[in-house]
Amino acid sequence: MLWEAIGFYSLAFFLIFFAYKTITAINPIHSALYLVLTMIGLAAVFYDLGAHFIAGVQLIVYAGAVMVLFVMVLMLFDLRAELRAFSRGLFSGMLKIISAGLLAGIFFAGSDSSIAILDTPAAAPSADVSRQLGILLYTKYLYAFEALGVLLLVVAVGVVAVSRIKGGTHARH
């Protein structure tokens, strides 16, 4: 238990450090790269807590695909106007206060169950875990799952529509 606790808390320390650097880094690309490290650390924490399949999916989807797109888009665009818009003004001030409140809430809730999180149920073979996950997704949570699919489809169609209006290689003439 002691070694598990040391492992978990050192992982958690790195995770919080990277997350902190994500929001304090001035350069947007450095910030995104810290977010990548945060995502990889999150996968490690999932693995540490016994959710092996979720850890793998976290690596593939978030660290491997979503964040590559983030970094690529940040490299493509000049973000000075957006940087100014989010560094001062009423709107960003409100955002800062709200996120500070959320962080405080998470902190108090988390400190309540700080070591109990390591009491994971006895580990089942991970193939069975992913099988149970699939069965749950397609029975109990079917409507939520399908609704998410529809939402993503709407987003994809919307992005295509917007990018065709704004011009580009596949624009309508």
Binding site: L33, I60, M75, S126
Partner: protein, 386 residues
Amino acid sequence: MGADVFEITVNFVKMVAIFLLMVQIVPLLVWVERRGSAYIQNRFGPNRVGPLGLTQLLADAVKFLTKEDFVPGRGYPFIYYAAPIVAMIPAALALNAIPLSSPVHVEAFEMLGQTWGPYVFLAQGYEFGIGVVFVLGVSSLAAYALLLAGYGSNNKYSMYGALRASAQTISYELAMGLSIVGVILLFNTFNFTEMIAQQAGPLVFSLFGHKVEALSFLPNWGIFYQPLGAIILFAAMFAEANRLPFDLPEAEGELVAGYHTEYSGFKFNMFFIGEYGHMFVASLLMVIFYFGGYTLPGVNPETVGKWFADFSPTKASLLTALVLHGVLMAKVVFFLWIFIWVRWTLPRFRYDQLMDLGWRTMLPWALANTILTAIFILIARHPWGS
């Protein structure tokens, strides 16, 4: 890690050995690449230094180590130095999670006045229980090395290379992941060793509860169940490893050398090791998914174990693992040669052709393959929901 000192030591040595296997195969592959390209183009290739030009590699290594260490003045030094190291990590992590042979069973023995209990050593660095998913997840991180290199160099050509690399990797990762879903459905497991075990033996299709044994002279390999998936996976692997015809990120005619324009000496060599490591992992995955892994018709852990029945169980198990490792490596070397062969045969794609191939051809075919496999398995293996 292991229960006692001996097991921990062996497991650690195993990981280091597999990493060194990946690093040491690079000079050999470079030699094969140069001699092979010369053979394909009707030239001689390097043949002056040592027998068959083999010691050319040593000369290259000395050159790499003694070159001037150059850092671009306006770049980001930390990111610039980190990129070549990041390039080696994904391939090394993925390679350690793939079994290179059958497990070695060690009987209890006496050493240093103590009995060391029976062990089972897997022929891989570690077993995470999610096999395929871990390998996919780790190798999807490979794009960061190119992004970091392009960004850290602060050079237009490097940046273009990095942008191309990331767009290409994302596009082909989808087709790659979907073609592997077909394999996972077919074998009904994430575990590489179980996949290989299912491919030992003759080819017997099971249809609606009947066995079709007409083709039982063939081995029970995945290629006969998933031919389309195999082709898509292999093509996507070329794109993931940034090999020709998909080496747009380092297209020398347009971008000087793409993302590694500013790198020289050993840092450049580390990008090279990463690329060849990806080829190695890709060939291993092809062999394990579609070509029977370390088995051949009549050669699987049980039959080979019988060849060495005269030896003590520990020795027999070790020799079996060695023979099967040889079988696996022979197949892997064949696929590595195809990688080199294709590189010196096909010209590079244009960028829009690359994107069209990824999104409009390979992705729909991979999706169709997944859906058809799922429907077919549902009907043929579990007729009407039994």
